[in-house]
């Protein structure tokens, strides 16, 4: 049992598949856990083989009592369902997050010839809280997945999940991107956009703040980025 779980965990780290479930920084704790599991599993197997050589009829360590067998269930699911990370289905279930407090201590954006790459969280944060309006007129490159929404006809909600611990606590971060062709839900895109300042300042609006942007260019991406989720840390 320990060998199986340890082995599966190693494989999950090796293929990078763990990135769909937890943050990248969990790689090393997971690796350590897998190594400990394998070491314990080997030690038990070694000992039971010695015991058996000495006394063939002795009762051996039982592999997994009762409910312990369920530990293999997550790995069966990984093999059969092959779930990928959070996407449009998850975004529909949880209200999108907008930064409500900010340290308002934004560093100046370095001038560059091309679009400025930015995390979705930073884009939202600057759009809402930056007194200097550093986003104004700036071409920003965002990466995220497409979530279609009936209220956005000429575009989509570019979505990236904010995950602090594991996918179960994921909260969507969304920028409404307008002026694009239609894409299927869950397509990963790199979008060059320009922030569209709101008609009424966000802070004067009750309820949800929706940050909008006009698309300059949207390219689809074959594979999701390795760090599929943004981290608040």
């Amino acid at each position: 049992m320990m060998l199986w779980i340890g082995g599966f965990t190693l494989r999950l780290i090796w293929t990078g598949g763990f990135g769909w479930f937890v943050q990248q920084r969990m790689r090393y704790p997971l690796l350590a856990a897998a190594v400990v599991l394998l070491a314990f599993g080997l030690y038990e197997a070694y000992r039971s083989s010695i015991d058996e050589a000495r006394n063939p009829s002795a009762r051996r360590w039982s592999v997994a009592p009762g409910v312990g067998w369920l530990l293999i269930a997550p790995f069966l699911i990984l093999l059969s369902v092959a779930p990928t990370g959070l996407g449009a289905a998850a975004a529909d279930r949880v209200e999108a997050f907008t930064p409500t407090e900010s340290n308002e201590d934004f560093t100046a954006i370095e001038p560059s010839t091309g679009p400025v790459e930015m995390r979705v969280f930073e884009f939202l944060d600057r759009a809402i809280w930056d007194e200097e309006q550093s986003l104004e007129g700036l071409v920003v490159r965002l990466e995220g997945l497409v979530v279609n929404d009936p209220s956005v006809r000429d575009g989509f909600k570019l979505t990236r999940f904010l995950v602090s611990c594991c996918a179960a606590d994921g909260i969507p971060l969304q920028v409404t991107v307008r002026g694009t062709p239609a894409f299927a839900d869950d397509t990963w895109v790199i979008a060059d956009v320009v922030w569209k300042p709101p008609a009424v300042p966000y802070r004067e609006l009750e309820g949800r703040w929706v940050v909008e942007a006009d698309a300059i260019e949207v390219q689809t991406v074959e594979d999701a980025p390795k760090d599929a989720y943004e981290s608040p840390w």
Binding site: L3, F21, S62, V67, L70, V94, T100, E101, S164, C165
Partner: protein
């Protein structure tokens, strides 16, 4: 809800049954290889059964697997420590280290929780072994409740999530410690010490420590891990059945929002290092009701109840869980009123 876990259970039943009938063959010889059957079945089923590609079921799988994967390193850390306790901590040592008087033992056990960086999953097997090593169960349970909530990693995470709100971090620390101490004292007075007798049944010996460590760690891992999986399944299911967006529609009343946050903490089963980030995302609610979320989550939630049942027994969990929940809510509200 799920096919794969069912097939694992079925395979288990089949194997155990089979094993019982073949006395000559040692049981373990079947074990590791028997796992190949559900594994192959899982691979064969993939892309063949439409249900497995159902959107809801995939989301359920993502949530379920992520809770388990996230907990795994902490669980392993926990069982290694519990193995070390079983192997190296003699009842004599416990008697010398733990203050004789309960009035002193309980708060110090609570503060000892500062020393274990990690989530709640790891502290369950540790507390079980501490009782096994002869620690008064009230002190061990205080540690169980305090460790996941007041360790430095969790406090730092809370401070990061709520920048410039030091009172909240302190309120969390105070309310969690208070919860642990109150529940510990309650247990010392009228807890059923006898409910935990099964944990103490093992003889302690100083022989062959390394192999005892591995033995205990393996047993605790498989046992507590199995219950963790049950809890993760329940949490994933409830997350889907009760969408989180329901929060934004709940009434303004403070009492309702306190109760709702307590229920949310139990259902979501988020680990204690992450819950502050979820709480900060719900600014429309008062700080006190969000404090309830931060105090309840680490001491009692679905996956913890499952693990308590596994490690301490069902009758224990039935008494312990409701009391802990109520004490946690009240401590959080009281501390919230005073500090926030």
């Amino acid at each position: 809800m799920s096919n794969a876990p069912d097939s694992a259970v079925a395979a288990e039943a089949a194997v155990v049954h089979h094993g019982d009938h073949t006395h000559r063959r040692p049981r373990w010889a079947l074990g590791p290889w028997a796992l190949l059957i559900p594994l192959f079945a899982a691979i064969l089923l993939r892309n063949r059964v439409d249900f497995l590609q159902n959107e809801e079921f995939r989301l359920w799988s993502t949530l379920f697997v992520s809770v388990v994967i996230q907990a795994l390193p902490f669980l392993v850390l926990g069982v290694v420590i519990s193995g070390a306790i079983a192997a190296y901590v003699s009842p004599d040592l416990v008697r010398r280290l733990v203050p004789r008087r309960t009035a002193l033992a309980i708060p110090s056990a609570g503060l000892a929780g500062l020393a274990l960086p990690g989530c709640e999953c790891g502290s369950v097997p540790i507390a079980g072994r501490l009782v096994g090593a002869g620690m008064p169960s009230a002190a061990a349970l205080t540690f169980l409740l305090a460790a996941p909530a007041i360790n430095p990693v969790v406090l730092v995470a809370t401070a990061v999530a709520f920048p410039g709100n030091g009172q909240l971090v302190f309120a969390r620390f105070a309310a969690s410690l208070l919860t642990a101490i109150v529940v510990g004292s309650w247990w010392a007075r009228r807890g059923g010490e006898s409910l935990l007798d099964s944990l103490r049944s093992e003889e302690w010996s100083s022989h062959n420590r390394w192999s005892r460590l591995v033995d205990v760690a393996s047993r605790d891992l498989v046992h507590a891990g199995g219950y963790l999986v049950v809890g993760a399944m329940a949490a994933a299911t409830l997350q889907l059945v009760v969408p989180r967006s329901i929060i934004s529609t709940v009434a303004e009343s403070e009492l309702l929002s306190v109760l709702m946050f307590a229920a949310l903490a139990v259902v979501l089963s988020i680990c204690s290092e992450a819950d502050a980030f979820v709480a900060v995302g719900l600014p429309q609610f008062s700080l006190t009701s969000r404090l309830v979320f931060l105090v309840v989550g680490p001491v009692i939630d679905l996956k913890l109840v499952a693990m308590h049942i596994g490690v301490f027994g069902r009758r224990f969990a039935l008494r312990f869980a409701p009391v802990t929940l109520v004490v946690a809510i009240i401590s959080a509200v009281v501390i919230g009123q005073v500090l926030l």
